[in-house]
Assembly symmetry: C2
Amino acid sequence: MIKTSHPTTVGRGPADHEMRNQIVTAATEHFSRYGYEKTTVSDLAKEIGFSKAYIYKFFESKQAIGEMICANCLSDIESEVRAAVAQVERPPEKLRRMFKVIVESSLRLFSQDRKLYEIATSAAAERWQSTVVYEERLQALLRDVLQEGRQTGDFERKTPLDETAAAIHLVMRPYLNPLILQHSLDYANEAPAQLSSLVLRSLSP
Amino acid sequence: MIKTSHPTTVGRGPADHEMRNQIVTAATEHFSRYGYEKTTVSDLAKEIGFSKAYIYKFFESKQAIGEMICANCLSDIESEVRAAVAQVERPPEKLRRMFKVIVESSLRLFSQDRKLYEIATSAAAERWQSTVVYEERLQALLRDVLQEGRQTGDFERKTPLDETAAAIHLVMRPYLNPLILQHSLDYANEAPAQLSSLVLRSLSP
């Protein structure tokens, strides 16, 4: 692996930032056509028209590029979920939206772009930082909705918040994690409504 | 694939039954040492000391042998779950036991016999008959427990039974299906208690 002598100073300036984006854009297209696993950094370099060494100035490995693409995809899903939750007032409806949009957005990624989904499964299997951050952020959003529902009196307050949040996260997890989602496609249509109804019954004061 | 002229008459007599068992026992040992995917029917025939054609008189394919082994494993898990549920009186405790023993037994299979677990994952991926039957039987058991709890007054009766049963099955599914279970190992310790508490809160009258 080729590294510059001052890796921390690379990719910080505006020109570097643009260069990184250019690599990520080209890589996204290349991966979505040929698949992530099969592509090497040499293939990418050839495609973009730079040397392999030059790409390594910006990303230390293929995984680092995949991480960036994956982080972008997951951040898109997160934005959609946040937007859907913000559109409604009552905490129970917010929770329903969370389940619905998590499943819908993840499935869209799965069906529209099978080759990019491959990156997400690698990411989940190897627990890349981007997937850990994604799960943590959605857990934080869940917690906010739960806390709000406790304040409005929509949700019970007897169970410790940590316990409630952890259990609901376990219920959501099969639809957050692309490795599991691919084995749950048969249930993906009914799951959001059925599971959110069950969870809301469990939260009733 | 070699078949006898009257396949339906094969494997029915007591001697045939014994022969089938002998093949299954030898195959279980062979698979658990060398793995299911890597073993061919020729390997098995060599190991048992019969011709390939003779094995094909009893099983029409390697998968048919795998099906039998898988059905045996799943039926062991089912028996353990049923026994655990029968040991306690109250429906809420029965439900807790179901979650607990499903996860424990499946994990035992997973950790003790990694090579046999491979059969279970093939079975789940290809939806072999044995896994479909297994899921249906556990769903029937769940339904019985729910119905009993509705009669004793432990569980609410407003939600249609079908809906309750389907939703709880969705919550259990990640721990019933070996393909999903292998991606849930980090949560397997706390999941049974956390999920059954959530489900019981959702069932409270």
